[in-house]
Amino acid sequence: MSVNILIRFNPAKPKAGEEVRVQIVAQHPMEPGTRRDASGKTIPADHITELVVTFDGKPIAVVRPGPGTSANPLFAFKMRAAKAGQLKVNLKDLAGNSGEKTADLALA
């Protein structure tokens, strides 16, 4: 099962050299492995272990969330919009699922 990812740039079309905030939301339950279901059994941990952000094929950030990151987590970065290009997000979780999403950054 693939994990749904949303990417947003703020501002959507930055000027060259401007600071742009990249917001990534992964739709994932992020089970910490400490919760119990109605019958008292522990729900096994299932959270995102690695999220790699690349820009034009070059890795720019790697996030390794632990069980202490919220469900449907938001990851926000800031980068300098030097040139237009393609931002790509890859993620993996403990259950072996993965997700991938690309977004194009356009300059004003």
Partner: protein, 153 residues
């Protein structure tokens, strides 16, 4: 009591109260609410191979977290290093009382030294932002988050 001694006495009382106020806020700086260094130390050693004493509290690390969180399951955290981007290697975030004190790590490669996310805080405890610089320093900022409903149960 005549008027003069009353004025003197009340001025003294006000000054005393101010001093006491300053004292308590100074104490709050030293010992954050819900501090649990033993548990934090475990997480620090496992992740950084460093202890709490190796971290330098610094004004160059800006940590934005709510002082009171209604739900511990969703606490917005913002960390910014006020350093040139090329000096920052990674950002770590810990919480003293979580079963697993490490909340997340971020390797900074091409982005600016800024990261924001939402984390779980098990119970009232300080959140620690640690910024690792390229020259091997670990800079620390802490803030206590008061939680009414825990986020890990």
């Amino acid at each position: 009591m005549d008027r003069r001694s009353f004025v003197k006495a009340s001025a003294g009382a006000v000054a005393g109260a101010l001093l006491a106020n300053q004292l308590t806020s100074a104490l709050a700086q030293g010992g954050l609410e819900g501090e649990d260094l033993a548990n934090l130390e475990k997480g620090l050693q496992a992740t950084l191979r460093r202890g709490f004493k190796d971290l330098t509290p610094s004004r160059d690390v800006k940590l934005v977290a709510p002082t009171i969180a209604e739900s511990g399951a969703n606490v917005p955290i913002e960390i910014e290093a006020l350093l040139p981007a090329e000096q920052v290697k990674a950002i770590y975030c810990f919480c003293d009382k979580n079963a697993n004190p490490l909340l997340f790590t971020v390797e900074i490669m091409g982005v600016l030294p800024y990261f924001a996310t939402r984390v779980r805080v098990a119970e009232t405890a300080p959140v620690r932002a640690v910024v690792e610089t390229k020259d091997g320093r670990f800079l620390l900022a802490s803030q206590s988050v008061r939680v009414t409903v825990g986020g890990c149960g």
